[in-house]
């Protein structure tokens, strides 16, 4: 898919991303990629946010996955809606490819009953182990793990 010149894979998966935020308060395009959380088994859209310290699951998704009553590390997260309390929990999901290889990720995510906004994919516990590139003309998201994953 996306390779180094020597042929080694950089990002063996590709999927079209959605770039339109239906929230009228948001004036700029976003990158929503598709993930399939284990336990929901249907693709949902999650916003890519390399500036976010952690991935944050929408509270209803977290509830469906049974993560709101977990025993993960309690902490607080600073968000655009202010500081919210929650926990850092393990979650497994697939970043889905339309072409090439998908990625199964056992990630660490922040969950909180207070977070009713979109699901975000952040750096620590997730993106830090994923290679990715974006083609904004084609709305293509290229991605892969290390060692050819």
């Amino acid at each position: 898919m996306l390779n180094f010149v020597n042929g080694a894979p950089f990002a063996p998966g590709r999927a079209r991303y959605f770039d339109h935020d239906t929230d009228p308060r948001e004036g700029t395009g976003k990158i929503f990629v598709r993930i399939i959380p284990q336990g929901i088994d249907a693709p949902i859209l999650a916003q890519l946010d390399t500036g976010a310290a952690w991935s944050v699951l929408n509270a209803e998704i977290a509830e469906e996955l049974g993560l709101l009553n977990g025993d993960g590390e309690p902490t607080r997260l600073s968000t655009r809606r202010g500081s919210i309390s929650g926990r850092l929990e393990s979650a497994t999901f697939r970043i889905v490819a339309e072409e090439g290889r998908s990625l199964e990720v056992e990630a660490i995510v922040f969950v909180s009953p207070e977070w009713t906004e979109q699901t975000f994919l952040g750096y620590a516990g997730l993106l830090e182990r994923i290679r990715f590139g974006v083609d904004p003309q084609a709305n293509d998201f290229y991605f892969g793990g290390y060692d050819g994953a």
Binding site: L2, N3, F10, H20, P24, E98, L103, Y146, D147
Partner: protein, 196 residues
């Protein structure tokens, strides 16, 4: 960051060179791609003729698809309980202030089983790096579902929607309600789910 966290972070920096996870991160981040390194297979069109990506071809010995655990040295009696409690508090401060790498470095040298085992397990789990595996399972082209969301999504603001290639399949105010509808409707293909 609190004073305790600052002091402990300084100490952690001096310890960081001991830690494989820190070495891995440093090794990964230090490498800079030379120009012209990425191509799009199979046509070999240039995707990024020049790049400052902080990565390159995996070096022999890289095993970064596996969760790189925050190191857990053998139990030690050298750290006294007040020091331990202070260190754990500092790590939590660092997590709250989003200084994850520093928190990992500080957690690494703390012995498992010394004190507060449950708290230590939670911290180690929270600060573990992700496990990533390749999968052959693919999703369908969702271009038409995206188009529906773009054109019609505003009509369902605040709702959860399930969208197939022929448009809206179901909408509900809650995800639970939407999934209940989908269990009854049993669409041939898993629809795309989104909260508008």
């Amino acid at each position: 960051m609190g004073a305790a966290a600052r002091a402990a972070a300084s100490h952690a920096r001096s310890l960081s060179q001991m830690l494989p996870v820190a070495q891995q991160e440093a090794a990964i981040r230090a490498r800079v791609l030379p120009p012209g390194v990425l191509t799009i297979a199979p046509g070999r069109a240039h995707f990024a003729p020049g790049s400052l990506l902080a990565s390159t071809t995996p070096a022999a010995g890289d095993h970064l698809t596996a969760r790189a655990p925050v190191d857990a040295p053998a139990p030690s009696t050298e750290l006294r309980r007040p020091d331990f409690v202070s260190r754990v508090a500092a790590i939590r401060d660092l997590i709250r202030s989003e200084q994850i790498s520093t928190a990992r470095r500080m957690l690494g040298p703390l012995a498992v089983g010394a004190f507060e085992e449950a708290a230590m397990m939670r911290l180690r789990r929270a600060l573990a790096t992700p496990i990533v595996r390749s999968s052959a399972r693919q999703d369908a082209d969702r271009t038409r579902a995206y188009e529906w969301l773009r054109q019609r999504g505003h009509q369902h603001r605040g709702q959860w929607v399930a969208v197939g290639e022929d448009g809206l399949i179901a909408a509900a105010p809650t995800l639970k309600g939407l999934r209940e509808q989908l269990r009854v409707l049993t669409p041939a293909q898993q629809p795309l789910i989104h909260k508008l």
